[in-house]
Symmetry: C2
Amino acid sequence: MKPLLLITNDDGYASKGLRTLCDIALEFGDVVVMAPEGNSSCLSHSLTPNRPLRVRTVSESERLKIYACDGTPADCTKMALENFCPTRPVLALAGINHGSNSSINVHYSGTMGAAIEASLNGLNSIGFSLLSHSADADFGGCIEPVRNIIADVLQNGLPVGIALNVNIPYIPASEIKGLKVCRAAQSNWHDSYQQRIDPVGRPYWWLTGKFVCDDLQPGSDEWALRNGYVSIVPTCTDFTHHSSIQQLSRRYE
Amino acid sequence: MKPLLLITNDDGYASKGLRTLCDIALEFGDVVVMAPEGNSSCLSHSLTPNRPLRVRTVSESERLKIYACDGTPADCTKMALENFCPTRPVLALAGINHGSNSSINVHYSGTMGAAIEASLNGLNSIGFSLLSHSADADFGGCIEPVRNIIADVLQNGLPVGIALNVNIPYIPASEIKGLKVCRAAQSNWHDSYQQRIDPVGRPYWWLTGKFVCDDLQPGSDEWALRNGYVSIVPTCTDFTHHSSIQQLSRRYE
């Protein structure tokens, strides 16, 4: 029996990025996909406690089983691990996301929420994202870096409690200069809501915004991506800021 | 003009925990509340990009303005900061949550998602939670620790990029032994989904689970809470695991 790889995403089970990731993962083992029914962007690490979840079998072959779930990406990770994986996966993958999850976007990303959930369950996990929102984006530039990173993690593992956040610039494969291990760039979204008026004169707000990043020095993921590199950010799954415990203890205890 | 404090939560604008927090915050300044219309638990740091948001004025007095929003807790923080705060808040507060956000639950918590969003926008921020899910819980034990922590943060600030995750045991005020600055305990939820059968014979799954924590040594938040202390966990808002960048660079570059 081949090793098992678990795949989820936040764009939905039918997305092109997920199919690309499946094709690569099948080079390394059998694959279980548990992915949202549809677009589940910006759901972060949210779960669904207040309604029941359904799971639908999309297709089952000997080496690739695809299930769709009407929960969040992190629900998909938990659901698959508890109920739909015949053996414990050797690796959890999320993506390939249609659109960037670099810098501050790691906070909002359902892709990374799913990857972090896997890491909290003791699995090595990687979220992959391509810097194009197009449903029909060309994933050609992803294939070699995604394959190489999966191969490395399967061979060498990851530090405990670290999930990888991998972003891939939207350029031809031949122009990708290589991989860079990075910090998430300091950045934010400005002017996040457009106020509009509905047909009966009442205001509503729509999330939008301008991405602002001044942290473009070498070492940041935004620098790497803008200079033709795939960015790899080791991402904490323990959110305690250990080095400030002592300082704060003096104030509060 | 008094300093402004921003308050949100994930239980909804009408919750008792939010009213308790407002009463304490008004001792320190004017208050703007932007809170979800209803229960928004487990929404983590999610945002709402795919539909418009509405904001409803619940009440406006000179010192206390309460707005309800049909978005997530993190939406509430962004919405308030961009559109409903007459001045920049000196402090952002979330809670008081009805139920624990200790240990692993920080990942799923809408309360902490809202607090982390405020921190990403440069504000000092604190999430407060009481270890009772009861809608009519007695918040008496919260008053003194919440007041003391707010007073301290207003005076001394917080380390850059740190939000405080404060949990309060559900015991009488007289039995609270004090404050402990802690790490989030290693823990997880097991057996997370109950499978049931619907009236027409199809399966569905409902999120539930058993909280399992073996990390009960002094220093963890679960130890503190089980021993009568209020736990204060300094929580990262930069998720990069900086200390593993160098090691991983050698593998990938």
